[in-house]
Symmetry: D2
Subunit: 258 residues, 4 copies
Amino acid sequence: MESARAGKHIFCEKPIDLDIPTIQNALKIVEECNVKLMVGFNRRFDSNFRKIKQMVLEGKIGEPHILKITSRDPAPPPAEYVAVSGGMFLDMTIHDFDMARFIVGSEVEEIFVAASVMVDPKIGEAGDVDTALITLRFENGAMGVIDNSRKAVYGYDQRVEIFGSKGMIKVDNNAPDNHSYYGNDGVHASLPLNFFMDRYIEAYANEIKEFCSAILNDDPISVGGMDGLRAVMIGLAAKKSVQENRPIKISEILEVHN
Amino acid sequence: MESARAGKHIFCEKPIDLDIPTIQNALKIVEECNVKLMVGFNRRFDSNFRKIKQMVLEGKIGEPHILKITSRDPAPPPAEYVAVSGGMFLDMTIHDFDMARFIVGSEVEEIFVAASVMVDPKIGEAGDVDTALITLRFENGAMGVIDNSRKAVYGYDQRVEIFGSKGMIKVDNNAPDNHSYYGNDGVHASLPLNFFMDRYIEAYANEIKEFCSAILNDDPISVGGMDGLRAVMIGLAAKKSVQENRPIKISEILEVHN
Amino acid sequence: MESARAGKHIFCEKPIDLDIPTIQNALKIVEECNVKLMVGFNRRFDSNFRKIKQMVLEGKIGEPHILKITSRDPAPPPAEYVAVSGGMFLDMTIHDFDMARFIVGSEVEEIFVAASVMVDPKIGEAGDVDTALITLRFENGAMGVIDNSRKAVYGYDQRVEIFGSKGMIKVDNNAPDNHSYYGNDGVHASLPLNFFMDRYIEAYANEIKEFCSAILNDDPISVGGMDGLRAVMIGLAAKKSVQENRPIKISEILEVHN
Amino acid sequence: MESARAGKHIFCEKPIDLDIPTIQNALKIVEECNVKLMVGFNRRFDSNFRKIKQMVLEGKIGEPHILKITSRDPAPPPAEYVAVSGGMFLDMTIHDFDMARFIVGSEVEEIFVAASVMVDPKIGEAGDVDTALITLRFENGAMGVIDNSRKAVYGYDQRVEIFGSKGMIKVDNNAPDNHSYYGNDGVHASLPLNFFMDRYIEAYANEIKEFCSAILNDDPISVGGMDGLRAVMIGLAAKKSVQENRPIKISEILEVHN
């Protein structure tokens, strides 16, 4: 808000905030001050996800029916982090919520989450979960599933698949090299790139490039404040779904605050 | 029941019946008559699924956390079939329910289903759905997701993935050949084998071999009446979850009948 | 020859013989006696190789430029076998020579072989080689390379690739299942099917089916005596190329015998 | 030579020269002037090839037996370029000759080349070839094959495979993304990165990084003048082999100049 009032364009990491009225207020000020705001959903700038998005826009899969996102981290954060981050849905899955909206091209209407603590009991003690299966319903009728884990021993697992009336597209993990080794005990290949700094290095560069270019040329920003707000709303609905073990409409989250 | 009373061993296609008391009664008679009963969950005899099962038993993934089953048919059945088959969950997903129990090695405790009619409106008119995302909770704490469609334009899509504390295993579709063609417009490969008679031909042979061998040698059957019953119970719970848009405990299905 | 004279149709394993005049004489008798002769080049009936052949015929690669065949056995035969088999080129590579003619659809004109003994010194003592890189020139201008080893510790390696003016096609090995296991030390998959009885089981069945069907319906045989003869001629030229370390024209082999 | 005399460290693109005495003289001056010389064999700095090299050094394949390099350009250069470049073996294959020495870790002793003009008759008129199959014999007993084409319609084809007594390693092409699209007419994926500026962008960066770092820290250079000389010698032997249609010892090339 201070940046906006100072007339500075803003690049903001996710989440904008954990409190919806605060976000709404910030977005209002950004709008009034007429500065640009870009939210750091870097994965939209990854080659694989851009390709899938572009093919969906081209109609290659026809009408989208089922979206599948696999998103697993190589190692859990310390429980102290979880206590202040807003929890897994707001510090980690928030990227997947944004990816879901980005790929399907429609808003999430309802969410159901089955979650538990399977990786680290301390995360449970801090009031959070570390493993989740998330069902999404979109306004255009499509459905989606996100599966999350705080700990995949084989590294950072980041895959997307979308299925529709005319076909299916999937993108896989990236690895540091594509060798196959055939030994007497099997065929072996490299693990996926281990974490976000390696996997998304090109995406980060593309993201900052877009931000700078948009400011220099006064172009529109592709990932704005409303994208930041929507992802937080879905994250808060996810938490509510776990607590109440029932599907939650995203509109319920807004009602709370109005 | 007539077979059992006649002292004949029985190979029974799924579902045993759509009514739980009828199944329970049939199983009781089978037991009393001391005949063998094998239920036709042929996919347990597929090389890929057997491999994944064996590796789970060997502890390769550690404790199972997330199971993912993709199961999509190449083309929907006529709406008339759906009206008498018990619906998608009982004529098609029933195989996936069995596969879920088989791979995870634990019983399903609760189910939540998001489903809709996206393929053929006539299926909706017949009171059924053709597209579904199914969340399972197992007694051992694991979770699972099954995604179903009655129509994948690229053929029969049958994949399984299981993720756990020590690793992940996935198996992919089988194709009629493994060629890659590099032309000036992309890399191209063969589609998956189109439907169950091609994809599971080896599984059917293995299945019948086990049935015959069990009878000839008086060996135990690996897929028995309780497996048939359990899959129907999950299927009925799936229908209830769609109707009520809430997670259903499998035990609720039994209570109805007791 | 006795079969032919007895009016019996003949299925003959390769090589027909190691001596060219003997083969020529046998083929003459077969022709005179008007019986069918099929030579056991079973690999022509494998799904992968049939696919590649069909796509070449359809013009998918345009004009063929470079053929590559990888053909490695899982374990060497005893040196005693090598001493009587005619050597690697006539007991093993002969299949690859036939595959080369089959895929390219043109006759081999010249051959150059670099070979050595790297697997088992006893094979060298028996006067043979166990590792070879073979360059082929075809009458239609295409070129080909076959690489052979008597011992691939990871199993039976049977791959083909063809490159032409409009594209490239390759086929890979077959495995018993297609699982991928992601553990903390890498991604692992099953080795190729270990040897010919597993890899070519379907090819053997297709081959015998064609033979029987051709006899029952008096249809032409797709792999005949001339195919058997040609492969032996190339094999003998391969041996000569190793001995003299120079490219050998296949016609040189015939001149010797005329 | 002027750079060396001026005391400047040198980064030199391949080939150093097309004339061996000129190269020998230049290397002598470089040595006398005590400057560093790095030759631009950028592919040594590619992640895939570095991985294969490292695994060979670690003994993963045991003793190397057969090396296979596929190296095909997306489009031929103009015939005018070929006339002054030294021809395909010295402007293009020279990279593969260096890669062969790098991966096998031994010097090339003998070469045999089958080559022809299949892509562009003007290249033939300019006295060069555009398609080749090259057999290499190394001092350590290993053998290798390189296949080249000036025109692969599907893009830049850069693969390496090495087979030895304990296993096999292969590396494949890199693509701009790893999507798979399943439509009703097949499975489709992206073509390989089209040419060297895309495929080897990371390799070029690593290469220059090593050069700068070596100069700043006075470290040894990993790709020096002798590497540049050796590759030219093999290229000249390749040309001689095509002209005389026989295997050429690399030592024959040196004798000519001594």
